[in-house]
Structure formats: C-alpha cells, structure tokens
Point group: D2
Chain length 346, copies 4
Amino acid sequence: MNKIKVGIIGATGYAGAELVKLLLGHPIAEITAVSSVSYEGKKLSEVYPNFKKLADITLENADTVIDKCDVVFASLPHGLSEPLAQKCLEKNKLLIDLGADFRMYDGEAYAEWYKREYSHPELHKHATYALPELYRDKVKGAKIIGNPGCYPTSIALACAPAIRNGLVETEGIIIDSKSGVTGAGRGLTQGTHYPDTNEAFAAYKAGEHRHTPEIEQTLSDLAGKTVKVTFVPHLLPVNRGIESSVYLTLKDGVTKEQVIKCYEKTYENERFVRMEPIGSYANIKNVRCSNYCDISLHFDMRNNKLIVCSVIDNMVKGAAGQAIQNMNIWYGLPEETGIDMAPQQF
Amino acid sequence: MNKIKVGIIGATGYAGAELVKLLLGHPIAEITAVSSVSYEGKKLSEVYPNFKKLADITLENADTVIDKCDVVFASLPHGLSEPLAQKCLEKNKLLIDLGADFRMYDGEAYAEWYKREYSHPELHKHATYALPELYRDKVKGAKIIGNPGCYPTSIALACAPAIRNGLVETEGIIIDSKSGVTGAGRGLTQGTHYPDTNEAFAAYKAGEHRHTPEIEQTLSDLAGKTVKVTFVPHLLPVNRGIESSVYLTLKDGVTKEQVIKCYEKTYENERFVRMEPIGSYANIKNVRCSNYCDISLHFDMRNNKLIVCSVIDNMVKGAAGQAIQNMNIWYGLPEETGIDMAPQQF
Amino acid sequence: MNKIKVGIIGATGYAGAELVKLLLGHPIAEITAVSSVSYEGKKLSEVYPNFKKLADITLENADTVIDKCDVVFASLPHGLSEPLAQKCLEKNKLLIDLGADFRMYDGEAYAEWYKREYSHPELHKHATYALPELYRDKVKGAKIIGNPGCYPTSIALACAPAIRNGLVETEGIIIDSKSGVTGAGRGLTQGTHYPDTNEAFAAYKAGEHRHTPEIEQTLSDLAGKTVKVTFVPHLLPVNRGIESSVYLTLKDGVTKEQVIKCYEKTYENERFVRMEPIGSYANIKNVRCSNYCDISLHFDMRNNKLIVCSVIDNMVKGAAGQAIQNMNIWYGLPEETGIDMAPQQF
Amino acid sequence: MNKIKVGIIGATGYAGAELVKLLLGHPIAEITAVSSVSYEGKKLSEVYPNFKKLADITLENADTVIDKCDVVFASLPHGLSEPLAQKCLEKNKLLIDLGADFRMYDGEAYAEWYKREYSHPELHKHATYALPELYRDKVKGAKIIGNPGCYPTSIALACAPAIRNGLVETEGIIIDSKSGVTGAGRGLTQGTHYPDTNEAFAAYKAGEHRHTPEIEQTLSDLAGKTVKVTFVPHLLPVNRGIESSVYLTLKDGVTKEQVIKCYEKTYENERFVRMEPIGSYANIKNVRCSNYCDISLHFDMRNNKLIVCSVIDNMVKGAAGQAIQNMNIWYGLPEETGIDMAPQQF
C-alpha cells in the first residue's frame, strides 16, 4: 500500500508537534509537508529539538502543504480554518481541522461564543463533527472533519451512556474540569510562566469557556432535547492531561447497578475507552501519552448524585491522537493504527 | 508580659511541624515542649532539618507536654485526642485540637462517619468548634477548642454569606475541592510516592470523605435547617494549598450585585478573608504560607448558578495558622499575632 | 517469523513496568510471562492501572517465567540475579539482567562496592557487559547480558570519544549527575515522599555511589589504563531523565574543532546518540520516553576544560530500552526495533 | 525609634517583590515608596495579588522613591543603577543595589563580562561589595552597597573556609550549580514557559555566566592570589533555591577532620550559615523562604577531593534577604531583624 501523504498546517503549535510525534510512528502515513507562519524556512527540529534526526523537515507554508498532501491536519486559531477548508475542498484533499471552526452544527452558537460569523457558511454541509465513539458513522463520508475540543471529548464520553439512556436528569449538570498547561498552548503568557504556574491552581473562564456550546451540542444530541451545563475549567500544574468531574442527578428509581451496567455495555467494544473498576478513580497518569479515555463512576446516594470522573491526555485523545483516529476511520484502517501505544505512567 | 508556654503533641506530623514553624515567630508564645510517639528522644531538628539551630528541642511524650505548658496543641489521628482532653481539663490546660474529635456538635454524626463512639461524651460540653470568622464569640469561654478541618474551612468561608443571607438554595450544593499533598500527611503511601503523584491528578473518596459531616454541620447552622452537600476532593500535585469550587443555585430574583455586596460586607472587617476583584480567580499561590482565605465569585446566569472559588493554605489557615488564631482569640490578643506574614507567592 | 517469547522477572518494579510498556509495542517480541514476588497472583494491570486492557496478564513466579520464555529480562536487587542466571544457562534461555550482578569484569570491584562476593563466579565467563555503542560486538555471542546502569550509560557515552582518542587527561575527572525520581525505584522512602521531594534538590552518596566502579571500568577500558573519577549524583524533582555534566581537562594543544569533529565522527552512524549543535544544551526533555542519548559540548578555554553534558531517559536508554536494544542485537534484528519512538517532549 | 523609610526601585521584578514581602514584616523599616517602569500608576497588589490588603501602595517612579526614602533598594538590569547611585549620593540616601553594577572592584572585569564600561567610574569608590559573612566590616561606612549575586553567595560561602585557610588547591576548581526558575526573572521566555521547564533540566551558559568574575574576585581575595574557576549553572524545575556542588582538591596531607573543624569554626557564630552533620546533604528545601545558607561537606579520598554542597534561597539569601541583612548592619541593628523566619520546608 502506498503511504498516505499527510501534512500539518500549524506544526509548531503543541497539537501540531504532537501530530508530528505520533505520525512519525504511523505505519501507513508519511509526513510529507509541514507549515508554520512563525518559523517558515526553519527546520522543525530547530523549533523542537526532540525531533533531531527524526523530523529535520523544513517548515513551508499552508498552500504548499495542501498541494503536497492527501490529508491536511490544521491546528490553528479559530477563524483561520475556513479559508483553508475551501482550498482543500477545491483540490479534493481531506481536511482534519483541530481548531474550532467545524465543530458546531449551526453558525449561531458559533457566532455567539466566538464573536465571529462563518465566512464560508456553505462549506459546513461538507463537514462533520467527529468524536469517533459517538459519531463514527459520519466520518467516512465527510470532506471536512471537525476534530473535537479537548474538554468536550472528556465530558461527552463521561456523560454519553447516562444521558443517552435517560438515567439522569438533563438539568443542573455541573462539570468541573482541570487541564494541564499544554492545553493553554505554546504562546507565552504571564499565567503560564513557570513560577506563576508551578505550585499554583485556580479556575478560569468559569461559565464562559468557548468549549461550552460544543459540550451542550453533544449532550443535547444525546438527550434529544436542549441541555445546558455549568462548565468551569481549572489550570492544573502538570504538562498534560485533563480530568473532568461531572455531577449528574440520578432519575428517581435508577440504581447504581443500572448505571454501572449501562456504562460497561456502552464501552465494552470501544478500543480507547476503559472503565475503572468500582472503587478506583480515573487518574490522568494512567492515560498519559496515549489515546485512552478512562472513566470511573462514583455515587453519592445521600443526594442522588452520580459523579463521573473521566481523564484523557489533552494532546492525544484531546487533539492529535483523536485526529489520527478519525483519519484511520476515514481510510477504513483499524482505528488504533499508529496510536496504540500504552500509556506512559511516569 | 510573660510568654505563653505552648506545647505540641504530635509535633512531627505536618500540621505539628507547621505549628513549630509559626510559633517560632510568635512574639507572645514560646514553644516549651513537643512530643512525638515515633521520634521520642530525638531532636526535632533531626526529623526536620529546616529547624537546625532554631528548634533543636528534644521530643518528649504527651504527658510531659501537658505538664509543662499552658496551651497544648494536639495534632493526632482521630480517637486519640479525647483522653488527652480529659487530662488537660483536669490540669486546667487549654487544649487546641487539630484532629477530628472535637469538631462535631453531636456524637451521632461523628460515630456514623468515623465509625467510632465518643469515649468521653461528657467532655464535649466544654468544647467548641472554632472557625473564628463564624464562631469567634464561642472561643473565649471554651476549655477545649476543636480546630476546623482544612476542606471545611475553605468551604464554610466560601458559602457563609450566601447561605446565611438566604441568597441561594440549600439543596443540590456541589463542592469540588482540590488539595496539595501535605494534606495527605507525612506517612508513606504508594499514592503519595513522588513518581505516582507528580504529573498525576484524580479524585478520591468521592461522596464519602470524613469532612462531609463537618461541612454539613456548619452549612446547616448557617441555613437554620438541615443542609446536605455532595463533596468530592481531589489530590493536587503541589505541596500546599486547597482550592474549593462551590456550585450554588441562586434563588429566584437574586442578582449578581446583591451577591457581591453581601460577600464584601460580610468580610470587609475580617483580617484573614480577602475578596478577589470580579473577573479575578482565587489562586492557591496567592495565599501560600499565609493565614489568608481568598474568595472569588463567578456567575453562570444561563443556569442561575453562583460559583464560589475559595483558596487557603491547608497547613496554615487549614490547620496550624487557624489554631494560633484561636489561641490569640482565647487570650484576647490581636487575632493576627504571629500569623500576619504576607503570602509567599513563589 | 515466530514471535520471540519474552518474560520479565521483577515486572512490578519501575524498570520492569517500562519493559512491559515497550515490549507491548515490539513487533517481534511477545510478553509471555511476568513475575513479581510481592504481587504474585495479581494481574499486572491491578498494580499498574495504565495497563488496563493491555497487560491484564497474571503475575507468576520466576521459575515459570524462565520455563515459558526464550528471553528473560530480570530487574532485581543485586545478588538475586546470579542464581537466576544459573537456571537460564541450564535451560538455554537468554538472560538480560538489568541489575548489577553482571556489569563488572572482575569480582573484586564488585565485592568492594557491593559488599558481597559472587556466588557463582564461573557464570561470569558467559556474561558480557553490554553498552551497545561501545561493546556491540560482544553481545551476539553472550549467554548472559549485563545491561548497564543508568548513570554509567549517560557518562560513558559522554566521555568515550574524548577518552578513547586521547583528547583529555584521564586524571581529575569530575562527574556531576542528576537523576529523576523513578531512578530511586518504586519502594516507599521518606526521601521520595512527594512533599519531601517536590521543590527539593540535593546531592546524595557523593563519592560513594555503587555505579562508580562500573563507570571507572568503562573509562579505563577506553583509556587503556586505570581511570578514577569523582562521581556525585543528585536527586532531581522530575519523574524521568538523567543529566550528567562531565568536566574533563583538555590535553595541551587540543582544539575545540578537534573535539567537536571527534564526537561527530564517533556518533554519526549511531541510531541512538545525537550531538547537539554547538551553543545548544542537552536537555532531559528532548529524550524523554525515548532511547536517545543527546550530548552537547561546551568549552571553558580559560581553564582548558571540556564540559560534556549528556542526557538520557533513565528508564529507557538507562534501563528497559537499552535492554531491548541488546535483545535486538542478539537476535540480529535492526537495533531500533520496537524502540524507535520519538521523544515525548512534554 | 522612628521607622526607616525604605523604597524599592524595580518593585515588580521577583527580587523587588521579595523585598516587599520581607519588608512588610520588618519591625523597624517601613515601605514608603515603590517604583516600576512597566506598571507605574498601578497598585502593587494588582501586579502581585498575594499582596492584596497588605501592599496596596501605588507604583511611582524612581525619582520619587529616592526623594521619599532613607534607604533605596534597586533591583534593575545592569547598567541602570549607576545613574541612580549618582542621585542617591547627591541626596545622601543609602543605595543598596541588587543588580550587577557595584559588585566588581575594578571596571575591567565588569567591562569584559558585561560588555559595558562604567558610566560613573568615580562613584565606585563610595561602594562596597557586601557579602556580610565575608565583608561585614566594610558595610557600615559605605554609601553604596553592591549586594552579591545569588550564585556567588552560595559559592563564596561554600569555599571561604577551605580557601582562606589554604586547605585546598586554588587551581582546577569546578562549580556545578543549579537554580530554581525565579532566578531567571519575571520576563517571559520560551525557556521558562511552564511546559518547556517542567520535567526538564539542562545546563546553560557553561563557562560563560556573568557571575563568574564575581566568584573569582571573592575567591582570589580569600586566596590572596588570582583564582579562576569553571562555573556551570543549570536550570532546576523548582520555584526557588540554589544548590552549588563545588569540587576542590585537598592539599597534600590535609585530613577530613581538619576540614570539618575549619568549617565549623568559621561559621559557629554566623546567624545565617548552618553546617550539616557529616553524612547529611544540604537540600534547598531546608532553607526555602529563609535567609539561611546550609553547607555540607563530602570527601572522595580516592581522588583527594573535597566536595562542598551549599544551598540558599536565591530570592532571600541570594537577593532580598541579604540586602536587608546589609541594611541592618549599616544601621547597627541585629543582623537578623525582620529576616529571622524559619525556613518553609514545604
């Protein structure tokens, strides 16, 4: 089989670099071109010295990447992917977008939260929101793949069985998430300067994070009606990993056993979702550098609450790994091709 | 003025060592005796080399501490403080207990959560639960002071204004807390072995942590009726600090402005509680090594939620600092005596 | 090709678990049996939950591992591998020993530093010390492979070109090394309790670490005469990685250019050694979770000093990865088989 | 006694903020004015929220600070303190400079390493280099105090007894130092971005760090002849603390006992220097947030090496604390006034 020619636009951001890392080990794909606005003309390994001798490829521009490749991964700030998608469509290249431009079904919620109208509204009918465990079937036919956000991935997988099966109320859902600092990106800010971040912890964007509409879109889809959530992210002093603690209210009469069985059944054949044994807690260290999502279930029966803890690696299942998983699905490859590494506990 | 002779039983635990650290700088108190079951006969500075030349005092036993001192701080596993309290009462020494034995008003909740009946039920009428900002008046007359738990301190201060003033519903309260590793104590466990904890994050004891009844006791007190909460703690890979994100439902018609004004008014004269400006987030780094509690208010008006983030240093305001604050109150000293250090941001 | 049946004795130690991690991704090897004295009868994934669904294999005992496998990796405290080696030899199984028992050429140095005589001296003639970049040729014929220690690996690769080519004096060599905490193993100690290790840093075993004779053996070999070194390790508050800063005195007349050229030439065809460009510094983050050794050269010409900084991942090139590299060599496989993953920068 | 009016120029840098922290607790000094070029007009507590309610003082400009205060602390990049010193001299204000402009005896070494000539050479005769334990006597009469650099403080105290007493050779001295990230300052750089620094470790500026001539000046002073050193600093992933491992060659016939006695005698009456018991290692955690320097002695008699490990808090003894120590000496106050806090082990 000829290798799939893949390219990465925005290869020097963290998600881009993780794509490089993973694709270097992919047996069927071959990194053919990479681009970066800030570092065009430099070697990738000059920006990321861990890639010395492995990815000494020179950074080019976005157009070149589209021309040279069959699959284009884009990891860019929102608003920049729509024009790229237009070009990919014209040249019949698959675009897997790790940004926010192709995650929402409708432009309204996007406009409300991102303060920007779609520039190419007609494009979106060729796009699909692709969280594989929930929307696997829609991936194959798509021409543009909207790769999910990191928080929404951890949260949708935590909630899906309970909501789809009507085990919990759809009101009053509280989501308390914590993300490692790579989630904030490579750009320098005072808040991610080492001494400001190390030994620190705080919430941010409480009730106003842009991943909220994406979370609500999926949960509404699962519930078959509009669901709103209270979502509060926190910055965790670790490099990688997201933990989401989701607080759900059990419907009257629903038992622990029902819930446990429902989750186990939902995920028993999923390659990348693992249920913790009851009594254990999902820990970011157990999924580090892997494409797994670990989920644990806890019950506060005094208050009829189901607490679901889910963990992912924000750079892998929350970004680059899931993007490759989507590429694999699109090409009909086994879903785990190139992303089947065991978690790196330490 | 003669110095107050203070002693510490359990001086080699983390809270005990923090008491030593703080009392070394207290202008009116003097560390007169310290004890440790595990290290009796050794110098404290052999166990904690940071105290070289500062606390080369020899560790004795509990009885000696009681005999030599006016005030006895005890920092022991639950169940061990009741007999000590009996002795202190007989010898007319003030006991400030940092353990769990004197925090509950009634023995029932204690027995339910700690799986142990009071051994000296009659003692408890001499005891008071002493979270100064809420129960300052009760401290002076007490003979036994039950110093609050770390999580309950951060949570009670986060909730008090809203609940006491009836701004929020008392049902469905969700509390998602995160604690630094000193909160788990000095004892060796696999879960606090460096490589297992570093770059890791998970919940623990979801819905079943023993601080739950203490939290509920205070919130019920403030509400004037029984309040139950869903409380989920998490282990944070930092040495010190607790952050609690508390999710409260605003009563119909309550406005942001009302809430903000209520909190500001409640705490305007409190030396150790600071409100963050709106838009800022309480961060554990801003209270490190200090007796402060910082609180920030956030609103998710789409869901009528008030989110209160509060932070303390679990070793200071959550243990040793608050214990000294209580001693100061008992003696009629300015509350901040010896504990007025600015937070150590880094 | 039939897969190589590999087994791991001591699979629940850190090096053992890293072997499992890596061998799960090895295309030609298959984990057939694992053992652990402490956890016999449990599943490996109960001890290391990151292996859920990946290595649910049950821990057995050492004898079973030897019986079931073609290659036995042993990761045990010193003194325990000699009897195992005897059994492997009898049953014609290849032993790759990650412990200290088969690293020294002669029993004298071993006895001096490890305070223990060889129990099976005759075995050692079947063994080879196998640092592939220096002793590749000896690996194939061996029946027992003594896998190098972590510090010695980083140090030998840092010194080899300069010493073998006579560019530096062999006296007065100073080696200041720093290791991540996994290097101290999984056993619980106060010194590796999270709050004691985090935000801490100190030397340990200065001038008396047991890796010293192994370092001196290799450097003497390279120099063709006895070399002694001053070796001081430090504990670094990170999970993984070793950095060694080696201070060498340039011989009269030796130039920077000579040194640089010598290192580049020595390592130009080595798959797992990378020279940093001049002006860059070898950083543990650039080799994390990989089998690479990065080396940077620095010159203090005011004092005729060559400073070589080398970094490895102590768990991979310093233990499990190098052991697999040795297995690959023994079997005539490409050296990088199963260990060609790119470093995980974050 | 009227309080000393102190001001801080450059109060929003890390050393400046640490000065604020410490001076808030100084019984005889009073922060009267602070300045910052970047934040003039803002409150200090807006930049450092840990100072809320404690230092809500408004940031002014340097001239105002000089006018309002008796003592001016300046914490500025090199080259900016000379003009300030001129003004302080004219207005008869004591300047304690935490920058590099007044550390060197002669302008030549300064010009060579800092690539800049003195702009006010005549000023330097009013200045003294003030490492109190070595140059205490010169402090009182000075009008400008050059506060030592952080690395040189840890190194000079480590070497002083051995060099001054002729116990070691003055050639071939190797110094391997490691500093926490606050040492790199508050300015944003890729190298101090959290994910780049966390779990990372590398040397930097090997053999070319600007603290080298300051170190050599002091050691030459102590030796009575020119001493050159090889100095290699490393960046340590912790917030605070410096560890220096110094490698010295014992002169023929010098014994361990001589060395130990010499160090103990030298420092027995020093308030801020503590010798570790033999067998213990100086650890940055034992001096954190304090003005102490802990020193441990180790011997590699196989190679006639004395290894001295010394640790300080780079922000306290390495900057702000030592500056206050110098102010105390200048005013004839007990040296520990306001800086006698016990180290914060966690």
